[in-house]
Symmetry: C2
C-alpha cells in the first residue's frame, strides 16, 4: 500500500472484508452456490488485449494461470443454476499499466454466472448488488468512511445506459474515462461491437455484429467496474468466432468438448474486488486496495 | 469428479458452499477480518516435504505460487489482530500422492491468524469452528447428507489430545493413519519435535526441541485435517532456525526485513476446505470434493 497510516489501512481492509460479506450474503439469499476458484488450468480466458503468459508446467503438462474463470463458469452450468466465486485472476499486463491507478497483475474478481439468464437479468442483479453493498457500507462502516474522508452516494436504479456507438460518437476513443469523469452515478455501456470483444460473448441475433453484453463504468473518474453479458453456447457458432479471432480450437480443447456435447445458455459478469474497494473507499490508486498489491511492472510481495 | 450422478455432485457442492458460509460467519462474529489471498509472491512457505517448484517470471523477477500464506499472515499481524483468508494453495506434490485419496496439487485452505494468541486459544477456536460447521450442516443439509448416505456425528469438546512421541510409540511411523482409523472423534497431536517441522513454528521455551504447535486428525480414516500453532517472531531465533533447516535467508528476504523491524507474536492454523468437504460428505476420494480437481500426477482442467 502507498498509504502508510495504520488506521487508514485498517479502515480499508475492514470495508473490503465487509464488502465480501455483503456480496456473498446477497447472492446466497438469491439461491447462488459458491464454488472454489481455479488457479491453474490448461485453458483460460484469452482476453481481448495482450498479456504476458503466466504458465507453469505440472507433471509434464502446461497449465495457465487463470485470467478469468469464464470457461469453468460455463461448464459448471451443467450442474448448477446460479454460481459465484471469489476468483483470484493473474493477468501479467503491460508494465505501462502501472500508471493507470486501476490495474493490478493479481486481483480478485467476484465472478458469477446464471443458467438461462439474459443480459437484462444480469444488469438488474448487478444494480441490486452494487446499491446493496454501497448502502450497507454507508450504514455499517461510518467510522471507516469518515476516516477516509469518503462521502458515498447510493446510486439510483436503474443506472443510465449508453450504446457503445453513441458513447464513441459523443466522447471519442477515451469514452470510458470521459463518461466516468462526467457522471455522478454508474453508467452502463451496452451493444458492444463484436470485433472488440472475446469470442465467448454472444452475438445479438436481432443486431448482427453487436453483442448481448455490457460494461459498467463507475462515476467520479474511477473507470471500468465490470464486464459481462450473455455467452455463446452453440458449438458451430463458437467455432466460427474462435476462427474469426485467429485463435486455435486446441487452446480450448476441453471447453470445446463440452460445447459439442451440451453447453447450457447462460449470462454473468465479474466485478473486481479491488476496483470496487477503490471506488467505495475513494482511493487514488488501486495499490491501496490490497495489503500485498501487485502493480504491473513493479516488484511486490 | 469421479462421482457421475449430477444430484450427488450438486449435493457436495451445496454442502461445500454452506461450509464456506458457516466458517466465515463464525469468524466474523468473533471479530475476524477477511483479507484477499496472495497467489504470486517472491516468497512462500518452504513446507516440510519436497514439492516441485511452481515458478512464474513477472517483469523479470521470479515469483512462486503460494504454498501457504504463512509469511503474509504474520506480516498482516502488524495491522490487524484477527484475520482469515480462503487461500488457494498450489503444491506440486510427488505424483505418488495421487493414490492417497487426500492430496490435490491445487486446493483452498481457510487460513487464519490471531495476534498474541496461544496454541491453546487456537485449539479452542478450532474445536468451536469444527463443531459449529458439523452441527449446522447436519441441521441445514439433511437432504444432501441423506443423498450421500452420510451420517455425521457432532464431536464432543474438548477433542482428545495425544503427544507426538506417545503417538509414535503406540502406533509406529504411520500413527496418523492408525489414529484416524481407530477413533470416532477428531484427535489432536501436540508437542511435535522441532526437527520434523518448518522453521516458523515456535519452539516451546519450557520444552526445548519441541514445538508449540498441533495437528488435527479426522476420525474414521479421513486422515489429517489441519496444522497450526504459535509462530516464531524473534529475528535471531528465526535466523538460527532457517540455518538449521539448511535454507537461505535470501529466500525470505522481505519477511526477514519485517522480522528485524518488528514481527508481532501470533498463532493460527489452516484447514483444507476440500479435506473438510471430504470428511463432512463422507467421500472416498478428495477428487470428489472439487468440480475441477487437480490430482497429483493427473491431468485436470
Amino acid at each position: 500500500m502507498k498509504i502508510k497510516e495504520p488506521r487508514k489501512i485498517r479502515a480499508i481492509l475492514k470495508i473490503q472484508s465487509e464488502m465480501r460479506k455483503i456480496l456473498a450474503e446477497h447472492l446466497r439469499k438469491k439461491g447462488f452456490i459458491e464454488i472454489s476458484p481455479v488457479i491453474l488450468s490448461p485453458m483460460t480466458d484469452p482476453l481481448n488485449h495482450p498479456t504476458m503468459p503466466g504458465d507453469v508446467t505440472c507433471y509434464g503438462k502446461q497449465y495457465h494461470l487463470t485470467q478469468s474463470m469464464i470457461f469453468h463458469k460455463q461448464i459448471a452450468m451443467k450442474f448448477l443454476e446460479k454460481i459465484f466465486i471469489f476468483s483470484p485472476n493473474i493477468r501479467i499486463e503491460h508494465p505501462d499499466r502501472k500508471k493507470t491507478g486501476r490495474h493490478l497483475f493479481e486481483f480478485t474478481q467476484l465472478d458469477l454466472e446464471v443458467r438461462g439468464a439474459s443480459r437484462e437479468d444480469m444488469m438488474n442483479l448487478c444494480e441490486e448488488l452494487i446499491t446493496d453493498v454501497i448502502a450497507t457500507i454507508k450504514r455499517d462502516c461510518k467510522t471507516e468512511l469518515d476516516l477516509l474522508a469518503r462521502r458515498l452516494k447510493i446510486p439510483k436504479k436503474p443506472f443510465k445506459q449508453i450504446h457503445y456507438e453513441d458513447a464513441y460518437k459523443k466522447y471519442g476513443k477515451n469514452f470510458e474515462t470521459m463518461i466516468s469523469k462526467t457522471h455522478d452515478g454508474p453508467v452502463w455501456i451496452i451493444d458492444i461491437p463484436l470485433k472488440s470483444r472475446e469470442f465467448y460473448d454472444r452475438e445479438d441475433p436481432e443486431k448482427p455484429g453487436f453483442l448481448r453484453d455490457m460494461d459498467l463504468i463507475y462515476p467520479e473518474g474511477y473507470g471500468e467496474a465490470l464486464s459481462g453479458g450473455e455467452r455463446e453456447y452453440d458449438y458451430e457458432r463458437i467455432k466460427t468466432r474462435i476462427h474469426k479471432k485467429g485463435q486455435k480450437l486446441s487452446q480450448f480443447k476441453e471447453y470445446m468438448q463440452v460445447a459439442k456435447d451440451d453447453l447450457p445458455p447462460s449470462a454473468g459478469f465479474g466485478i473486481g474486488i479491488e476496483r470496487l474497494t477503490r471506488f467505495i473507499c475513494g482511493l487514488k490508486s488501486i495499490e491501496d486496495a490490497s495489503l500485498f498489491p501487485k502493480v504491473p511492472g513493479k516488484y511486490g510481495i
